[in-house]
Structures are given as C-alpha cells and as structure tokens.
C-alpha cells in the first residue's frame, strides 16, 4: 500500500516534519518536561506507601528521568521498526500505580521493577498483534478512549487546582488564586499571543505561577533550600535495588499494561489526527511501532529501576495547545530529561513545583485532549448502535469517578481490570463495539424505479447504512449524489425496469453496483458546453456529475444487462 504524505494542519506552527531552531527546540522540550515533572509525585507516593526513604524516592525520580527520557526519544523515531514517529512523551503515570503498590508491599522495589519489565515484554508482544486488530478500534471506540484519557486526568487536576486533599477538604483560597492566575496567563498567551508567545504559553504561565506562589508564601525558602542543598552533579545509581519476579503478580501488571496500551492507542490516534489535516482513520502500523517503543520503555524502566511508564496525554494536549508537534521536540525533551538525571539541583526545580501550578497546567493541557476525542467521534456517521457504544462507555466510565469505590467490591481480578474511569470506559467501548457489530452486514441492497423514486429513497437508505457502517459523512454524500444522478440518467435514457443497487462497504472502500436492463452510457470528462441547443445535454450533465462524485466509474454488460460500478475511496 502506498504511504500518503500527511498534510500539515494550518493551526500548527511547527508540524511533525518541521525543524525549529535549536534554541526553540530546547525551550519547547523544557516546556514538556515541566508537564512531565508533575508525575514525579507517583514515585514519591509509592515509596511512601511501602515504607521507603526520601533518598529512595529521589533515586526513583532519577531513574524515571532516564527511563522516560529514553522512551520519549525512541517514541519520536520515524524510521525502522520501533517508534511511532510522533512527539508523544512518556511518563511514570498513574496506570501502573495500583499494580506497583501491590508488588511493592509484597516484595519491595525489586519486585516492582521486575514486574514492570514483565509488563514491558507483554506490551512488546501486544504491539505485534495490533496491526490485525483494526476492527476492534473504529473511530467511536478510539474517540471515546481519547476523550476519557482527558477526563481521567480531571480528578487529579481539580484537587490540585483548588488546593484540596484528604487532609484539607476545604478550598484553599491562596492556592486557588495562584491556580486561577496561572491558568488565565496560560490561556491568555495561548489565545492572544502570537508566534513565540503562543509556543511558550505554558512555560510563561508556569513562570508566573512560580513567581506568584513565591510572592504569597506558597513557595517558601525551605522549598528553595531543596534546590540549593541538592548536589549539582551525581551519576544515577542504576539497578541499586535489584530485580525480582513473582508470577502471582502477573495479572495486575498485565491489566496495567493492557490499560496503558489502550490509552497509548488513543493518544497515538490523537497524534495522527493533529498532524494530518486529511486524517481519516487510524494508521495501525504507526500504533504498533509506538506500542513497541512503550514496551521497550517499560523493559528499560524495570532494568534501570523505575516505575512503569505510559504515554502522557497531558503532553499531547500541550503540543496541540502550543501548535508545536515537531518530533525534534520529542528528541529534545527526552535528551534533556536524561541529562537532568545527572543534575539533581536542576531537577529539584521541577520537584518543588507548587501544587496549584500543577493543577492549572493539567487543566490547560487536558481540555485539548477532550476536544480531540470529540472530534474523532464526530468524524463518522453515528447510528443507534454507535450512540450506545459511546454513551454507555462514557456513563459507566464516569461512574468510577462519580461514585468512588463502586467497583472496589468486585473480585480481585475484576477490580484490577476496572481500575480507573478510562479502564472502565475502554473495556465497555471495545466489548460493546464487538456486541453491536452483530447483525451489521457490510452489504446492502436497494431497488429504484426510474421516474418514480426520488432522491429521498437513496438518502434514507444510504444514511441508515452509513450510520451502521460508521462511514465518513462526505463519502456517503458523494455516493448518494452519484446514485441519484444514475437514477436521473436512467430515466433520461428510458429505462423502464427497476434498477438494482448493491452497496458494499469496508474501511477503505465503498462500492455501489447499479444493474439495469439497458445500454451503458458515456461518462464525459467535461460538462456540456451549452444546455440549450443540445438534446443530449441532460444525460451529458447527469453522467458528468456521476463521474465527478465517484472516484472511479466502470460499466460492464452481459445479455442486455448493464452493471455500473461506482467506487468511492473511504
């Protein structure tokens, strides 16, 4: 199959193939690191839960920088068997936290690392199967997953934005003030800023957030001391805690890897869409290579001594917001992140990030992810079946956050499967898609009587089928228009019998075969020069329009019967 060059969307300042200057690339890479650094909280939480020391946590963060930096770089590679080729940074995100807590309590950090490498191996295997799984992931499923990827971050972002946690359930006014100022600054520079101001809108907003936090005491001298007391240079201690395995923990890690892989598929779908103005469908090869990079990243995490990692949706949101998706930024972010592992003093700047600044940054990035999901869902026609796939999945996915603990009472295997709103929504969407595919034929037939039937019959038939197939609206419209011109041409040439129309659909093709008793007619390349004097002009015009609406037209005749093939690329 020929590979089509993606057309850069007009809202991007630096598209995937663009090469911003070195300085711009580094600053944009740094901007991504600020968002990634919000997830440094997870190693701290896990070490705290399993009774580790602050030094262990610092080492874990260091290893996270090395492992995710490496994975971010290979994810950006667009040649060879590994890497999706997109700016799609990876992070020690929440996907592996529940499984890591189980492993940490059972066998310490060594077991977490061993099982993380095991999960990485599973992702590598899964990536090999993905190219054959297109039917499991139509746009209504991937769109719902992308939307829920954004929604999943809301329960993390909102408490940080309002300055609330379990110990302090009341809104903290000062935190809220900092968060509002930070978010407004980001949004203002993004909306009204031009060029560099829009590119760096998150970084500028964060800088303002840090300054306001310092001014109002949310960032204290003690925090600054964390920076000054850290050593300027230190070689990371790779593999300090060792590595071990326990088959009993295979299931939770497989579930985490699967959930992470599905999220990655949603994220990479967004990357494909935002980088191609003519995007139509998922490129499964790029997804497979991207999943392979994630698997390699998790194997690296296990071997180096870091937590499980997955794609960071917030960073993709940031790329959309700033209009900068060049893969060079991925290389820069990954490289800088790996370098930071050697410079604890610089890394400490990210570690002390004020909580409301984190909340504002997440909200800023996530709203773009939610919209990307909606756009993917609405890129196709939607019938009742798809409405249920999307609606049920979202409702049950959101129930995880709306009613905390709802799925906690399930048996352990099931509760680890239903571990987040995203996981619940994804499981629902994939299963319901398979269920509602039952009874949907890829072929449908229609009979038309020239001179009697109007375009209404064709519109009703094709719109119903388009919805059931999840076809693109514009392709269905072209098929309707071409079939209607065929019906009008049949009347003009005097076809008395019914025209049998057989329509066949797959993800790449829509073929309509119209059979009638009669002769073929010419499909002209040009419209009629004059309608007035030429008696053949009506047929000429209808036939010309058939040729314009269809991507390919062909006639075949046998025993007085003619078949007109109308092919539409999908």
């Amino acid at each position: 199959m020929m590979t089509r060059m993606a057309r850069k969307p007009s809202n991007l300042i630096y598209g995937i193939e663009d090469q911003p200057s070195l300085a711009t690339t580094l600053i944009l890479g740094l901007q991504h690191i600020f968002i990634l650094s919000i997830a440094f909280i997870f190693p701290v939480v896990i070490v705290g839960e399993i009774g580790g020391t602050p030094n262990d946590a610092q080492n874990l963060i260091c290893m996270a920088m090395l492992a995710t930096g490496f994975a971010t770089m290979i994810q950006s590679v667009n040649r060879g068997p590994i890497g999706s080729g997109y700016l799609c940074p990876l992070v020690n995100g929440p996907a592996f936290v529940p499984a890591s807590l189980l492993a940490g309590k059972a066998g310490g950090l060594a077991l977490i690392f061993g099982m993380t490498a095991f999960a990485g191996l599973f992702e590598v295997l899964f990536s090999r199967l993905v190219p054959r799984m297109r039917k499991f992931f139509p746009p209504e499923v991937t769109g719902t997953v992308v939307l829920m990827v954004g929604v999943e971050v809301i329960p993390i972002a909102i408490p940080k934005f309002f300055g609330v946690d379990q110990a302090h359930p009341a809104i903290h006014p000062l935190s809220l003030l900092v968060a509002v100022i930070t978010l407004m600054a980001m949004a203002a520079f993004n909306v009204w800023g031009r060029g560099k101001l829009r590119l760096y809108s998150l970084l500028i907003g964060m800088a303002i957030g840090y300054a306001v936090s310092f001014g109002c005491g949310l960032l204290s001298m003690e925090n600054i001391e964390v920076i000054t007391s850290s050593p300027p240079f230190r070689v990371p201690q790779v593999g300090r805690f060792g590595i071990s395995f326990d088959l009993a923990l295979a299931m939770p890690f497989l579930v985490a890897a699967l959930s992470s892989a599905l999220k990655t598929m949603g994220d990479l779908t967004t990357c494909q869409k935002i980088n191609d103005a003519d995007w139509k469908r998922i490129d499964m090869i790029s997804i497979s290579k991207g999943l392979l990079a994630c698997g390699a990243g998790n194997i690296a995490s296990g071997l180096l001594g870091a937590l499980g990692q997955s794609v960071s949706s917030s960073n993709i949101g940031l790329a959309i917001a700033t209009g900068a998706t060049s893969r060079r930024i991925g290389y820069a972010a990954g490289g800088l992140l790996m370098l930071l592992a050697f410079f604890p003093q610089l890394a400490a700047i990210f570690v002390i990030m004020p909580t409301p600044v984190m909340g504002a940054s997440l909200i800023f990035a996530v709203c773009f992810m939610i919209l990307a999901g909606i756009q993917i869902i609405t890129s196709r026609m939607i019938d009742a079946r798809k409405t249920f796939v999307i609606g049920f999945s979202m409702i049950f996915g959101l129930s995880f956050d709306f009613i905390p603990g709802l799925y906690a009472g399930l048996p352990p295997t099931w509760s680890s499967l239903f571990s987040s709103s995203l996981a619940v929504a994804t499981i629902c969407a994939v299963s319901l898609n398979l269920l509602f595919r039952l009874g949907v034929s890829k072929r449908a037939k229609l009979q038309l009587q020239p001179g009697v039937d109007s375009s209404q019959a064709i519109f009703e038939f094709m719109e119903k089928q388009g919805g059931a197939w999840g076809a693109r609206k514009e392709v269905i419209y072209n098929a309707i228009a071409a079939l209607n011109e065929m019906l009008e041409a049949a009347e003009i040439i005097g076809i008395k019998d019914k025209v049998e129309v057989d329509v066949q659909f797959d993800e790449f093709n829509l073929d309509a075969r119209a059979s009638y008793r009669g002769e073929p007619f010419e499909i002209p390349r040009m419209p009629p020069a004059s309608m007035a004097e030429d008696r053949t002009a009506p047929l000429h015009l209808a036939a010309y329009m058939i040729g314009r609406y269809a991507d390919r037209v062909a006639f075949s005749s046998k025993d007085g019967m003619t078949e007109l093939l109308l092919h539409f690329d999908h």
Partner: protein
C-alpha cells in the same frame, strides 16, 4: 421541498428549503414560471435551505435564466450552501448567475441597478 414566495420592495423572492431532485425540480420550475408569467422581473432565489441539487435542478435553473435573459431580467442566487455552490462551480453553471452572499445584499444590489 418547500417553496415560500414573497416580495421584498417589489422584488420577487423565492425561498427554497429541502432537496432539489428530479421530482422536486418540477415544483421549482412551476414556481419560477408562475412568477415569470405574472410579471417578467428579476427575482431572487434564496437557496439557504437547500443542501442538495441534482442535475435536474440545475437544468431548471438554467432554463429559467435563459427564458428571462431576452426580457432583460435574471435570477439572482443567494445563500448557497457549500455543497450546492461546489456543484454549480464544477459544472460551470455558477457563471450564468449573479450570486450574492445573503438576501439583504441581493435586494440592495438589485435596487441599485
């Protein structure tokens, strides 16, 4: 398809809603011919509500325009939906008509000619 026949400052305005195909094109033809028979005058055809026009519909428009030309009158089109505009441009039929972006502009232009 629905056709609403009104007059704005003495200028006949036909507002069409729905699809114009082989069946409904005949109704449109009757409506236009009715106005021409009553009083040959330049008229405005508001296609804001039309999301599809077939070759039969295009032929009706061309025939009406042709019959008005000797009388120094014409049909002005307004509010074309993107799909309709595209097909009119692709067939070269758009060049036979004066096309205005909205009804108000069409009326203003006609009053000043």
């Amino acid at each position: 398809m629905e056709i609403i026949n009104t007059s704005i400052q003495g200028i006949p305005v036909l507002a069409v809603t729905g699809r114009i195909d082989a069946v409904t094109a005949k109704e449109l033809d009757s409506a236009i011919c009715g106005i021409i028979k009553e009083k040959a005058a330049t008229m405005v055809l508001d296609l804001k509500g039309v999301d599809y026009i077939s070759s039969s519909g295009l032929r009706v428009l061309m025939a009406a325009q042709k019959s008005l030309r000797p009388l120094r009158c014409e049909i002005c089109l307004t509010c074309l939906q993107p799909m309709v505009r595209e097909v009119m441009e692709a067939t070269g039929i758009a060049g036979l008509f004066t096309i205005h972006p909205d009804r108000k502009e069409a009326i203003t232009a006609l009053l000043h000619t």
